[in-house]
C-alpha cells in the first residue's frame, strides 16, 4: 500500500458535553476517491472541519504527507494542498466569478506550485472552462444560480491546486443531470492525480464515484471498504433504515 496522503488517527471532537467525533481513524491515499457517508448529524462535516482546520480536534492526530498538521491554521493547510468546498456555497459575493478563483490562486497555489503572478488570470480562466463557467467569468458571483454557485465552490477549491480535495455535499438539491455534471468534474480531478473525499447523500453518485466508502454514525466510523461490501453491511443498513 502506498504511503497515505492523509492520515487521521484517533480524532475526537467534543462540543461541550456532546461528542461529535469519537476516536475516528481515516486515511486517504494519493489520488484515491473516497466516499464519506452517514446520516444527518453523524459528524461528517465536523470531521471535514477538523481536517481542513476550521475546527480543532481535542484528541488524535492529523497528518498530511507525513507532516503533523494538527496545529496548523486553515490557511496553512490549504497551502500544503488540502482544499475543501463548503456545503452551503460561500462565494466572495462582491467579486466576479473570475476574481473568486484568483484568491486561492494567489494565496494558496502560488505558495506550493510556484505559479507566476502573470499566469493567475490565465489559470483561473482555464479552471472556469473545466467546470463550464467560462461564459460567467465576468458575472458577479453573488448573482449566480444554485448550480453555478456549486460549480464555483468546487472551482475555487480546485484553484488552490490541491493534492486532496474535500467536496462537502456539492450535489445536495441538484437535478440528476446537474449531479452528472459535477460527477464528471470530480472524475476529471482523478485524472489530474488529485485525491477526492466526497461527502454526499446522493447515493447514486457516491456509489458511482467512490473506490472506497467510509461510514460515520453518531461520531464513530462503523465501516470502511469496498462500496458494494459497505452498502451490504448489516450495521450500515440498520443505521440508514432502522431495524
Amino acid at each position: 500500500m502506498a504511503e497515505a496522503l492523509l492520515e487521521v488517527r484517533g480524532v475526537t471532537k467534543r462540543f461541550g458535553g456532546f461528542t461529535a467525533l469519537e476516536s475516528v481513524d481515516f486515511t486517504v491515499r494519493p489520488g484515491e476517491r473516497v466516499g464519506l457517508i452517514g446520516p444527518n448529524g453523524s459528524g461528517k462535516s465536523t470531521l471535514v472541519n477538523c481536517i481542513a482546520g476550521t475546527l480543532r480536534n481535542e484528541e488524535g492526530s492529523i497528518r498530511f504527507e507525513g507532516q503533523d498538521i494538527g496545529r496548523h491554521p486553515a490557511h496553512k493547510r490549504i497551502r500544503l494542498g488540502l482544499a475543501r468546498s463548503f456545503q452551503i456555497p460561500k462565494p466572495f459575493a462582491s467579486m466576479t466569478v473570475l476574481d473568486n478563483l484568483c484568491v486561492p490562486l494567489l494565496y494558496a497555489a502560488r505558495k506550493h506550485e510556484r505559479l507566476p503572478r502573470s499566469r493567475v488570470v490565465e489559470e483561473a480562466t482555464h479552471i472556469l472552462k473545466q467546470v463550464g463557467l467560462a461564459d460567467r467569468a465576468q458575472a458577479m458571483s453573488g448573482g449566480l444560480t444554485q448550480v453555478d454557485m456549486r460549480k464555483l465552490e468546487l472551482a475555487r477549491a480546485m484553484a488552490a491546486k490541491p493534492k486532496l480535495l474535500i467536496s462537502d455535499e456539492a450535489m445536495a438539491g441538484l437535478s440528476a443531470s446537474e449531479v452528472d455534471d459535477i460527477l464528471a468534474l470530480l472524475f476529471g480531478l482523478k485524472e489530474q492525480g488529485v485525491a477526492v473525499i466526497m461527502i454526499e447523500h446522493v447515493m447514486r453518485a457516491v456509489m458511482k464515484f467512490s473506490e472506497r466508502i467510509a461510514v460515520l454514525v453518531a461520531g464513530r466510523k462503523i465501516a470502511d471498504g469496498d462500496p458494494q461490501a459497505v452498502a451490504g453491511n448489516a450495521e450500515v443498513v440498520k443505521a440508514y433504515l432502522g431495524e
Binding site: A52, T54, P73, A74, H75, I78, R79, A83, R84, F86, K90, P91, F92, A93, S94, M95, D99, C102, V103, P104, L106, Y107, A108, A109, K111, R117, R156, A160
Partner: protein
Amino acid sequence: MSNRAFAPVALAVALALAAASQLVTNEYFFTAGYTVLLFVILATAWNILGGYTGYVNFGSAAFFAIGAYTTVALYNAFKAPLPVTIVAGTAVAGLAGLGLGYLTLRLRGVFFAIASLALAVVLYVFVVNWDFVGGARGAYILQPREVPFGMPRYIHLIYSVQLLMVALALVVARAIEHSTLGRGLAAIRDDELAAECSGVPTLRLKIFSAMASCALMGMAGTTFPYYLSYIEPSSAFSLSYAVNSIAMPLIGGMMSWIGPLIGAVLLGTVQQLVQVTVSSAWNLLIVGVLLVLFVTLAPNGIMGWVEAWRRRRER
C-alpha cells in the same frame, strides 16, 4: 494607472495645490480647507479597515486623538518639532491599531463596532485624567514664530502638510486596493471563513489593515493641535470624527479609494457651507439626512451608483 505611477502624480498634485495655497490670504479658506482635508484622510483611512476589510470601526476619533495627543505630549516633553511628532503620532496610533486588529480575532460585525467605540471611551477617560497633556483643561501649543520655506504664515505650512498627508493616505489606500493584499482583504470582507480556506492568512491581514488604517488616522491628528493652537479632550474625541469617517466612505462608495475622497470632499464642503450660512448645530443633522438618503437610494454610494450605471450601459 499602476501604483508606482500614481504616487508621483498624487504627490505632484498635492505640491501644486500647496504652492497655489501660498497666494491665499483669506483666513477662512484655511479653516474650511483644513477641515475638509482632515476628513479626506480620516475617511480614506477608515475605509481600509471598514470598506476593504469589512470591519466597522466606531473609534476613529480615538485614533485621531492619539495622533493629536502624541504631538501634545512630545511638545510638552521637549518641544519636539512637527516632523518628529508626525512620525511619532503615526507610529503610536499604528500600535494602537495592533490592539484593534487583535479584537477582530474574536469579535465580528456589530460586536466589533461596539468594542471599537468602547476603546475610544477608555482612551478619552485616560486623556481627561492625564495631567501632563492638560487633562480636561486642555493644552496650548504655540505655533513657532519662524515659518519654514518662506511661507507667509504658519497655517500655510499646516495646510500644505495636510495636502501631502492626503496624497500619502490616497497612495497607501490605492496601493492596498490594487494588490494581492487588497484582494485578500476583499475576500475577508465577503466571507472570512471561505477566505481562510482559500489560503488567505486572515488574522495577519486584518491586523495589517487595522494598523494601516489607524496609523493614517493618527497621522491626521498630529497637526491638529498646531492648527487650533489649543486642544482639549472633548474636541479631539468629538463624535463628529467617528460619524463622518463612516458616513463619508458610505456616501462616496466603500469599494475603492476614490469613494471616501468624493464622499469627504462633498460632505465636508456641504458641512462647511452650512456652518457659515445656517448654523454649526445643523452639521450632524445634514450628515444624518444624507446618510439615510444614500443608504436607502444608493447603498453602494456614489461610486457604486456610477458602476451600476456603467454596467447597465455596457449591456
